[in-house]
């Protein structure tokens, strides 16, 4: 899958968790969880939904690599075969 395809899936999943977000307002290089107000339950639901869509299992130890939309997408592109 291309970077763009993964980005679309990530944004669709994010919208499912936080319907109020406007895609244009998201800054891809700024901390995602602050921008979208995701508490730890939202974050876990987000990862579970990504797991269902992309079959990627994200270990907890990798959370700190996934701060922004850009780093998250890069990570998923690498992990997704």
């Amino acid at each position: 899958m291309t970077n763009g395809e993964i980005r679309n899936i990530v944004l669709a999943v994010l919208k499912g968790i936080a319907p109020e977000i406007e895609e244009g307002e998201l800054l891809p290089d700024r901390p995602l969880r602050d921008q979208v107000d995701l508490d730890s339950m939202d974050w876990l639901n987000f990862l579970v939904a990504l797991h269902e869509r992309l079959a990627v299992d994200i270990p907890e130890a990798d959370y700190r690599k996934l701060t922004t939309l850009d780093t998250l997408i890069d990570y998923l592109v690498q992990k997704h075969v």
């Binding site: 319907p19 602050d34 730890s40 339950m41 876990l44 797991h51 299992d57 130890a61």
Partner: protein, 250 residues
Amino acid sequence: MVAIAHAVRVGGGAVAAWRAAVEWADAGGAALVVREALEAAREKPPVCDQGSEGWVRIALQNATLWLQAENARRPVTERVLMAALFLKAIALACEKYPDMNGLCRDGTFAPAASVHVGVAISLRQGGLIAPAIHDVQQKSLTQLMQDLTDLVKRARAGSLRSSEMSDPTITVTNLGDQGVESVFGVIYPPQVALVGFGRVAEQACVVDGGLRIIPAVMASLAADHRVSDGHRGALFLAEIHRLLQQPETL
């Protein structure tokens, strides 16, 4: 509130302020509830049933390490959040301190037979509700995590059962998750206690006589002083603290 502002502006001591407030209420046609409150104030001191017992800083080093190890061997769909540990610790502490768990109606407290923990959930469209997870004291962390996930999902979808809304016996608020360090909540009557958890963050703590940077959280308690007192409240918080140091027993 306007009556108080008016009385303060007029000045002249407490009695004069009260008289001014009564005159203001009579002249201005204040709401019945305000006039009744003023009339009651002639004889009785003001009453506030809620007492804040303060807060305690809880070291979460053990809990964090235990959760990391536990979650590392669980698939993402079965991962456990710290919030589940908080829920279980509160419920077990309630069994030891039943004066925190129950309902107080007409000044009479009835301890609850089981622990139904109300969980404050913020709704994305704004607002806050606190439906219950039932029988928390006897559920496993895995079960609690499933219940919590399901409850948050249904709360946001607007499909809660009426029993979940009406029968919590104590409430926990975890709103500090992303933001503030400590939360001081307000009791949901007729419940008699509310526990607030702030954000879990790395803090400088003294451990074994040395300074260490470890994850910790501020836990606060608001309790009804008709039922318990500050001493009982402090013991209750200390019990939650103790339980969270032994996550494997939760």
